[in-house]
């Protein structure tokens, strides 16, 4: 059997929300709503003003911070420029230094290997890959081979055996290669003593700084 509600519709108990707004007129709702909306608008305006003040403060802070940054950068800029310029110059110096020849080492080596009773008359050494085409002003020495080789010496020895010794010893120098006797001629000087004039040429690979003895 199905249960039947015998009460008329107006006498039946209402739902939870049936009483809400029962006594409120649209005019009252409009008034209350208007007041609440106005309050919200005011609140939003207040928050807006507050946020604007924050923005304004941060603008001011940013301006101050940027001014400080500019001041600090003004101090740092010349230092950075100096550092950059230093690095560029140091790089150029290092690059040039790689091509510098340790001439004192060459002369020292040469003096060490030259035997007794042998004297040099001339010496001409030109570094390969020279930086600038600087040309010595002196005229080429007679008996010295033209610059087909970069290392040439002429000299006089007491005997041909001494010249051979010079050739042997020059060949031992690490910065000389293809040591070649160009000329050898016996001559008598003004004092009447006999000597052997020689001319020797060689390939020249001069030692660079940091190689060999200081």
């Amino acid at each position: 059997m199905q249960a039947v509600n015998l009460l008329p519709a107006y006498a039946r108990p209402a739902g939870r929300w049936s009483a809400v707004g029962k006594g409120v007129t649209p005019v009252a709702v409009t008034r209350i709503g208007g007041v609440v909306a106005a309050a919200c608008a005011l609140a939003i305006a207040g928050v807006y003003v507050y946020e604007r003040s924050i923005v304004s403060n941060r603008h001011a802070t940013l301006t101050t911070v940027q001014a400080r940054l500019t001041a600090v950068e003004a101090i740092a800029a010349p230092l950075r420029a100096a550092q950059s310029a230093s690095q560029a110059r140091a790089a150029a110096v290092r690059s040039i230094d790689h091509s510098r020849v340790r001439w004192e080492g060459i002369l020292s080596d040469l003096a060490r290997v030259m035997p007794n009773q042998v004297y040099l008359k001339t010496l001409n050494a030109e570094a390969a890959g020279a930086v600038a085409p600087a040309t010595p002003t002196a005229a080429p020495t007679p008996g010295v081979t033209a610059a087909s080789t970069s290392f040439t010496i002429t000299g006089v020895a007491a005997s041909q055996a001494d010249v051979a010794l010079v050739l042997d010893r020059l060949a031992l120098l690490p910065w000389l290669s293809d040591v070649t006797l160009q000329t050898l001629a016996r001559a008598v000087d003004t004092t009447g003593s006999v000597g052997d004039n020689f001319s020797i040429s060689a390939g020249f690979s001069p030692p660079l700084p940091g190689i060999g003895a200081q």
Partner: protein, 215 residues
């Protein structure tokens, strides 16, 4: 029933209007300001970080050293030919090595790597080891150890050395030569260097190419 319904609708409309006011006000007024404030905050933070980094750089040893290094490197590799300084340095080296400089002939500036070379031809008189010392002094005015450049003078390179017969007729080397007292006339082709990009064929501003100084 009709009144209740109208009141409810009015309430719903009022709630909708209030929500609309809040949402529109937030979206159009408050949110952009908050966004701006946030952006400004990021900019301020970035600027502060930059300030801190720059201050750290300024107070760092590298920065403090940079000006001193540049001053020192300008002596080694100057911006100008500075012929007077070259002459002083050559004279000082010659004095120390006990050789005498006969002629100094500067030539036109030529490009050389990251710098410009000022070729100078020197003729000097002296003993074999005096000339060797002179060349040593010129070279050791600047020393490069690892990546460090040190020097009290200018950077020179010597391209060629030519010894001619000295006053006594021979150039002595070795034990006999050094003891014999012979003097040598040596022609030395050296280069002083000027920092900066090369201008091919441009003559030096401070030296007259081809001019010969005799001391």
């Amino acid at each position: 029933m009709k009144l209740i319904s109208s009141g409810r609708i009015a309430a719903l409309v009022a709630v909708a209007v209030i929500l609309a006011v809040v949402i529109v006000g937030w979206a159009l007024l408050i949110s952009p300001q908050r966004s701006k404030a946030s952006d400004l905050s990021v900019q301020i933070d970035n600027a502060r970080v930059q300030i801190a980094a720059t201050k750290a750089y300024v107070s760092s040893p590298v920065a403090k050293r940079s000006v001193r290094d540049l001053r020192r490197l300008r002596r080694i590799l100057p911006d100008q030919a500075e012929a007077a300084r070259i002459l002083r340095q050559l004279t000082a080296a010659a004095h120390t090595a006990q050789v005498s400089i006969n002629t100094v002939t500067p030539q036109s500036v030529v490009p050389a790597g990251g710098a410009q070379a000022l070729p100078i031809t020197l003729t000097i008189d002296g003993h074999y080891f005096g000339i060797s010392t002179f060349l040593h002094l010129l070279r050791t005015q600047v020393a490069v150890h690892d990546a460090n450049v040190r020097g009290k003078g200018r950077l020179y390179t010597v391209d060629s050395v030519q010894f001619l017969t000295g006053s006594s007729g021979t150039v002595g080397t070795g034990a006999q030569g050094s003891a014999s007292g012979n003097t040598i006339t040596a022609t030395i082709a050296l280069n002083a260097f000027i920092f900066g990009s090369a201008v091919p064929g441009a003559p030096s501003t401070e030296t007259t190419p081809g001019a010969t100084t005799t001391s």
